[in-house]
């Protein structure tokens, strides 16, 4: 029998009891330094102990319950994925998805955290122990190679007997390649302790003893003390026989990090990932909530304000904002309002999509990014427009940044995601049952004093966004401080013009005729333009304009961006004159 590769097995790296809330624990396995932390949702993260930005150890980072925050430049890394969630030097940029701390497997068994191993590896399942009935004894680091420690445990097992009773008969057996089980029998009682050996690196290990069963409260302390003393003696003997030199950086098998989420490359409007509906519930009057879980692996990362395209079973494609707060990385959580005049999108989500169903999605896109460097952040939500703002509010709350979330709704019953709203109490202001005029008055009050470094985000019905932009503009809010996202483009679109488009990079020229969009003409000419809403709302199909007058028909750009005239959304906008030149 050949011994298994240590790198193919899972090994203990910490005891569950070490993972105190909001702390980061240092560990080392097979030469790899690890930062181990538990998020508030209970998930245990085992990561490489090194900030990918400038190499600072993440064991000195802050655990805010959802993310680790590096103390050097404040980069934030998400629970589960290890993705960089925020780079404070660039407050309005979404960090590229490739920026990710290597994350390793984490499993709990016998009161220990297990990591490393090949993807198929499982923590040991031993006849000696019962999964939820163990007492984790004090772990002991030993400066000898793991094989010497295992050998020593076998040879000295007669010394590792129970705390009470000297008539014990003691036997020992291998409980797998990195564990020694010691069984002591006194009359009819049996005490079993399994000593797991964590290979720290080539020259060091940690012995982690776990006892079967829970001793009576009165005996606990004496058992712990007894075993600690015996192991301490074993350590002294092992270290003195192993000689004087300890190699810290010994031979190591590289630990295999978890794979990145895999998605199909973006192309046109094609879906990129498959998810299952893990949970569906009615979160408010007429609003269904969905949690979408990955079929395997992890979901691509996203920032507050992001949305996904959902490819519905009936063939329609709809955009829904992610309401997730920081650290919620296991599912995408959406809210869908049933529109009375639904063209089949929200009706299908409400009536035909059920728990357990499979859906196709795009990767998250973010055309409504949140800046986190504002002195004041005002979030104004109308009805279901609250969804992206919920993600923002939770982020600001978690980072302890000042914000107000003004939630306009018909009544209490119409407030979605109550369980998310409740912990927001300080920033949340509810405005219920107001008429459009009363709403305008409220918005007037909210925005009347503009101060430097303030930002306003509004999402809701079209007329409410229009009103908010007008009112805030009147109170001195500059265009670049007012951010908005429409659900749909309610303006009347016209596509009767004919014009010529020159593509500067390839030197090609094409004609766009009446009745066909610029986006479709580009695609016909073989340009792989991404798109999402295809109605001038989301901004995904944006192109840079080098020359020519524009006929903007979108609801994405603000007035100054329109006036600048250097960008356009190809799905709805057209040339105002006869010719435009695009940077494509």
């Amino acid at each position: 029998m050949t011994a298994p590769e240590p790198g193919s097995l899972l090994h203990p790296v910490a005891s569950c009891a070490d993972l105190v809330p909001r702390h980061v624990v240092k560990a080392r396995l097979l030469g790899q330094d690890l930062a181990v932390w538990r998020a508030d949702d209970g998930f245990i993260n085992v990561w490489a102990d090194r900030c990918i930005h400038r190499g600072v150890r993440l064991t000195v980072a802050a655990n805010d319950g959802a993310e680790l925050v590096c103390p050097y430049h404040g980069w934030r890394y998400s629970n589960r994925s290890g993705n960089c969630a925020y780079m404070p030097a660039h407050p309005s940029d979404a960090p590229p998805r490739r920026l990710r701390v290597p994350a390793f497997r984490s499993e709990e068994r016998y009161g220990l955290i297990w990591s490393g191993g090949s993807p198929e590896a499982e923590p040991p399942r031993l006849p000696h122990l019962e999964a939820d009935d163990t007492l984790v004894l004090r772990a002991l680091p030993v400066n000898v190679p793991p094989d010497l420690a295992l050998q020593g445990l076998h040879e000295c097992s007669y010394q590792l007997g129970p705390a009470a009773g000297d008539a014990a008969s003691i036997s020992c057996d291998s409980a797998g390649p990195f564990a020694v089980a010691v069984t002591a029998r006194t009359g009819s009682t049996e005490e079993i302790v399994v000593h797991f050996v964590q290979p720290v690196d080539g020259g060091r290990c940690v012995i982690r003893p776990v006892m079967r069963g829970t001793p009576a409260a009165g005996r606990r302390l004496s058992i712990l003390r007894h075993h600690a003393r015996q192991l301490e003696e074993l350590r002294a003997r092992l270290e003195s026989s192993a000689g004087s030199r300890v190699t810290v950086r010994g031979p190591s098998t590289a630990l295999e990090p978890l794979p990145r989420p895999s998605t199909t490359a973006a192309s046109g409007r094609a879906p990129q990932l498959e998810v299952s509906v893990a949970r569906k519930w009615l979160t408010a009057e007429g609003i269904a909530a969905f949690e979408l879980a990955p079929m395997s692996g992890q979901l691509p990362s996203f920032q507050p304000g992001a949305h996904v395209d959902v490819h519905l079973p009936n063939g329609l494609v709809r955009q829904y904002s992610l309401t997730n707060g920081p650290g919620l990385t296991s599912v995408y959580r959406l809210g869908v309002k049933l529109e009375p005049d639904s063209r089949g999108g929200s009706r299908c989500m409400h009536d035909s999509v059920h728990e357990g169903d499979t859906l196709q999605l795009s990767e998250p896109h973010n055309n409504f990014p949140l800046r986190r460097d504002a002195a004041r952040t005002v979030l104004i939500a109308g009805g279901i427009g609250v969804t992206p703002l919920l993600a923002m509010a939770q982020t600001l709350e978690r980072q302890e940044l000042a914000y107000e979330l003004h939630y306009f709704a018909q009544s209490d019953d119409h407030l979605a995601f109550g369980e998310v709203l409740e912990p927001l109490s300080t920033g949340l202001v509810k405005h219920l049952g107001l008429s459009p005029d009363q709403t305008a008055d409220e918005i007037e009050k909210i925005t009347h004093d503009y101060g430097a470094a303030s930002h306003l985000y509004v999402c809701g019905p079209g007329p409410m966004i229009e009103a908010t932009r007008a009112i805030a503009g009147g109170s001195g809010w500059p265009d670049d401080a007012v951010h908005f996202e429409y659900f749909k483009n309610e303006s009347e679109l016209h596509d009767t013009s004919t014009f010529e488009v020159r593509l500067a990079r390839t030197g090609r020229t094409l004609m766009v005729g009446a009745g066909i969009s610029l986006l479709d003409s580009l695609r016909d000419a073989g340009v792989d333009m991404p798109s999402s809403c295809e109605q001038g709302v989301c901004g995904t199909c944006m192109a840079t304009v080098l020359e020519g007058q524009l006929d903007h028909q979108d609801v994405f750009f603000n007035d100054s961006e329109r006036a600048a005239g250097n960008q356009m959304l190809t799905c709805v906008s057209r040339a105002a004159g006869e010719r435009i030149v695009l940077d494509l």
């Binding site: 330094d33 102990d49 090194r50 990918i52 930005h53 400038r54 190499g55 600072v56 150890r57 000195v60 103390p71 050097y72 430049h73 404040g74 780079m87 404070p88 030097a89 660039h90 407050p91 920026l99 400066n143 270290e239 004087s244 030199r245 300890v246 190699t247 810290v248 950086r249 986190r372 460097d373 504002a374 002195a375 980072q399 940044l401 430097a452 470094a453």
Partner: protein, 311 residues
């Protein structure tokens, strides 16, 4: 029992790197050097000793058994002294053959400048990591909150990096500082210029409330003990008529005390020069330029040399 400290290599004794060897290094502030008594240290892993002679002139030599620490030294009988210079308030020496003179800091010639060593800090890091930290604006709101930066005003707007006569300059570096003016309640944007004239020395120029035109100059002069340990000297050349030396020292020492634990938790201690070894953003333009510059100079001491060809 011997335990290595987790580094990839033992500290180098006597580096093979001519780029690092053929430089002047500031060992200690002149006014902190005892007269006629040997002080031992290391420079680039090489044991060296120094003192001042009875005329106040600095002396340095390769450590000899016959002159233990504290031993009386007679300049006239000292064998093969190392070259020394007394500049900007420090004793500079070398274990190699620096081709030219030390870089110039023209501001030090202005008569109304306050010139002092505001502090010397022992830090377990490499020289290049220490210099990069000095050039780094992104860390100010996090490591020096309430003093040199403040959250959430963390944005680093674009600035320019230039090479001028084989030195690096980073200009128009703006950062929001809460204490920029004593009476201001809202803080203000401060404009920095950084200059790197030497692989282990950097300077920063910053406006001062006491002069509309001229700038305060603050320098970091690193004495590399070996490739994982430094003594970092903070050089001040200020237009300040208000603060005492003690106040200036306390301020700078407070700042460096905040950087020390960060620097000592960076792995590896040596600065990786491979552009893919760490993940810079546009805010790190100065640091990228510095890494490339060291790479181009052929520096191998205190760095993890790039394995990429042609860099």
């Amino acid at each position: 029992m011997t335990i290595t400290d987790g580094r990839q290599t033992e500290p180098a004794i006597g580096p093979a790197d001519p780029v690092a060897v053929d430089q002047w290094y500031a060992l200690t502030a002149l006014d902190e050097i005892p007269v006629g008594r040997a002080v031992r240290t290391k420079l680039l892993g090489v044991p060296v000793s120094y003192c001042r002679d009875h005329d106040g002139a600095p002396l340095a030599w390769l450590t000899q058994d016959s002159l233990p620490a504290g031993a009386p030294v007679d300049a006239r009988t000292l064998d093969a002294p190392l070259p020394t210079m007394a500049d900007y308030g420090y004793l500079w020496t070398t274990v190699g053959e620096p081709g030219g003179a030390l870089f110039d800091i023209p501001e030090t010639a202005e008569p109304d400048r306050r010139i002092l060593n505001a502090g010397t800090f022992g830090i377990f890091t490499s020289g290049p990591r220490a210099v990069e930290n000095f050039l780094d604006m992104g860390h100010l709101p996090f490591v020096h909150p309430g003093v040199l930066g403040q959250q959430p005003f963390t944005e680093i707007v674009d600035y320019q990096v230039e090479y001028r006569s084989s030195e690096i300059y980073a200009v128009n570096c703006l950062i929001f500082q809460p204490k920029a003016a004593a009476a201001s309640t809202s803080g203000q944007m401060v404009n920095y210029t950084f200059r790197v004239p030497h692989p282990l020395c950097a300077l920063l120029y910053k406006s001062t409330p006491e002069d509309d035109v001229r700038l305060d100059v603050i320098g970091l002069f690193v004495h590399p003990i070996d490739d994982g340990r430094v003594r970092a000297h903070l050089f001040n050349c200020l237009l300040d008529t208000v603060n005492t030396d003690g106040q200036l020292r306390r301020f700078q020492q407070g700042v460096l005390a905040q950087d020390k634990p960060i620097l000592e938790n960076q792995v590896p201690r040596q600065l990786p020069l491979d552009p893919d070894a760490e993940a810079p953003t546009r805010a790190d333009k100065t640091s990228n330029a510095y890494r490339r510059w060291l790479s181009d100079l052929g520096m191998t001491y205190g760095v993890v040399a790039s394995t990429q060809p042609g860099l």
